[in-house]
């Protein structure tokens, strides 16, 4: 490896210049405000966590975790997502708080190896966790909040796809009893979105044609609430039925929220995180090639931190939304320029402090003589140009000319 050039930075991380930061902060504030209006309180957790606790629980695949050693030789990770850290806090510092808990976060998270765009090494997630409520109301609340958050972020055209891990588990257990490997095989094909291999695996299984058709039909179970009815016909397995009934109820709550038009049911969905145990969902925006949010129910994760309680949540990929939302941001107020010379410095700086207290943005500069004053050109009533820079107003405090330059 050659030594990096002075301006280089590691692969997969990025700088945000002022105009991008303004836009990103706006999205982030709008989304966090939206979440707080739903009663979610924001928490912050450290960037570093132990590998053996949060690192393992996070279920990010091991090779995608950023691992490092501290000065005592303990293995640490840069957090790869926020659900596991929040679960740790809920099981420790917040363990005596009454349930349900509604928590939100905005944080940078890290993934190793991934180098290309849409696969950054560091990116931003804004999300919520609803802890201690296993009802369909809770699942519907996070889906509805995800929709509100996407709208708050300025995403105009989007869709949410929703599935249930329990349905697939039940269906496969029923179709392939005592064959856990074959069940896992089918699930892994759905997880890798490889429908060709899924059909091929079914073709090779020792099942009746009717059963094979039923399993293949799974790939078409996509749409509105009618899908729940069709799914109930597919399986008598108690787990599958309970799962579908749960999903039906979530749908009904979403109808009451008035947001079901944004949602489709897709029973082939398996959340990308292995800790999901129930309903899972993903959000897609038409401007972007990659999903913008994902979430679901994870009833066993908190157990790993010693507090077995059911939870559900989601996170938005905030910087992907930044790449996709093209709407113009409101023009920022131009700063005021105050020029002064040494004799009138106190006057100039005091005026600057007064204007800043009023909420204006003020830049000050020492002019060494008349020739050092900026050449000024008024463009509009509230825009003045001085040597290429734009200001809202320019005040001049010098002893050699009068006050307004």
């Amino acid at each position: 490896m050659s030594k990096p050039k002075g301006f280089e930075k590691p692969t997969g991380v990025r700088d945000y210049l002022p105009h991008a930061v303004a836009k990103l902060r706006k999205i982030e504030n709008d989304v966090l405000h939206c979440m707080s209006r739903w009663g979610y309180r924001q928490i912050m957790t450290p960037t570093l966590e132990y590998y053996d606790t949060v690192g393992v629980a996070s279920s990010t695949s091991d090779q995608k975790l950023y691992k490092l050693l501290n000065n005592r030789g303990q293995a640490l990770v840069l957090r790869s997502e926020m659900t596991a850290p929040v679960a740790r806090v809920v099981s420790s510092l917040l363990k005596d708080e009454p349930l349900p808990l509604r928590l939100s976060y905005h944080a940078n998270v890290f993934r190793a190896i991934e180098a290309e765009a849409g696969r950054e090494a560091e990116f931003f997630q804004t999300g919520v966790e609803l802890v201690g409520d296993d009802s369909p109301e809770a699942d519907a609340e996070v889906v509805a909040l995800a929709i509100s958050s996407l709208q708050a972020a300025g995403v105009k055209s989007f869709k949410i796809a929703m599935g249930h891990v329990g349905f697939l588990n039940g269906l496969f257990q029923e179709a392939l009893p005592g064959l856990p490997e074959a069940q896992e095989d089918l699930k892994s094909h759905l997880l890798s979105r490889d429908y060709v291999s899924f059909r091929e695996s079914i073709r090779r299984l020792n099942l009746s044609d009717a059963q094979k058709n039923e399993l293949n039909g799974l790939l078409r179970l996509r749409g509105g609430k009618e899908i729940c009815g069709q799914a109930l016909e597919l399986s008598d397995h108690p787990l599958a039925r309970v799962s579908i009934e749960h999903l039906c109820k979530v749908w009904e709550v979403l109808v009451s929220y008035g947001v079901s038009q944004h949602v489709m049911i897709d029973l082939t969905m398996i959340g990308d995180f292995s800790y999901y145990t129930g309903m899972t969902f993903e959000g897609y925006a038409s401007e972007l090639g990659f999903p913008v949010c994902s979430g679901g129910r994870y009833d066993n994760l908190l157990q790993q931190f010693g507090r077995p309680i059911p939870s559900t949540g989601f996170s938005l990929k905030t910087n992907r939304i930044l790449d996709g939302v093209t709407g113009a941001i409101e023009a920022e107020e131009l700063p005021i320029l105050i020029q002064y010379d040494i004799p009138r410095r106190k006057e100039g700086l005091q005026e600057a402090m007064r204007l800043r207290l009023e909420g204006h943005s003020v830049i000050t500069r020492l002019a060494t003589g008349p020739e050092d004053l900026k050449m000024v050109k008024r463009l509009t009533t509230d825009t003045i140009e001085a040597e290429g820079e734009r200001y809202g107003e320019i005040y001049t405090f010098v002893s050699f000319v009068s006050e307004h330059g």
Partner: protein
Amino acid sequence: MAQILKVAMPKGRIYNKAAELFRLAGLPIPPDGEASRKLVISLPEAGMEFILAKPVDVPTYVEYGVADIGIVGKDVLLEEDRDVYELLDLGIARCRMSIIGLPNWQPGIQQRVATKYPNVASRYFREQGQQVEVIKLNGSIELAPLIGLADRIVDMVETGQTLRDNGLVEMKSIFEITSRLVANRVSYRMKNKEIQLLCDRLQAVIVEPGLSIGGSNR
């Protein structure tokens, strides 16, 4: 109103077979598409826009969502490992990925394998517990064993004529290859109706669904 589907089409060997399949499925695709040297072909009657890409780049266009769907060989999908939906085995452009060598091949101390598919080859030999050095080449792979760069190659075999002409033998077929219909993760949801309709129409005219991975062992 139906939305236009952006389709990443592979230039070369597969293009005509894929276009023919679309025509069989009842889509009005003009016969001279690829010959025009245009890179983007608008096909409003078919509700599509073709993006003509180098085959190996098709999954990349689809993963990034600049194309909604694409047609690409399983060989490329296995080599590139992109996050896309693999919806259909089109059963066209059938061939196989094979290990090829000179007729008198004997395992040497340091075995070298030349290939256009380093990921596929490394994975295969690793899974077989074989220790080989994989060398990436970009074309004329058959040269490697003839002039002593590598003792074996991993490459796609369709008829085997090139191999025979060069005095090489196919030692083992690793997997069967056919072309696949792939879709972007977001497009698959946002344009689900259009993509599902196309899938159904194609499925009705696919003659020979592919045998898929590990086909040679059965």
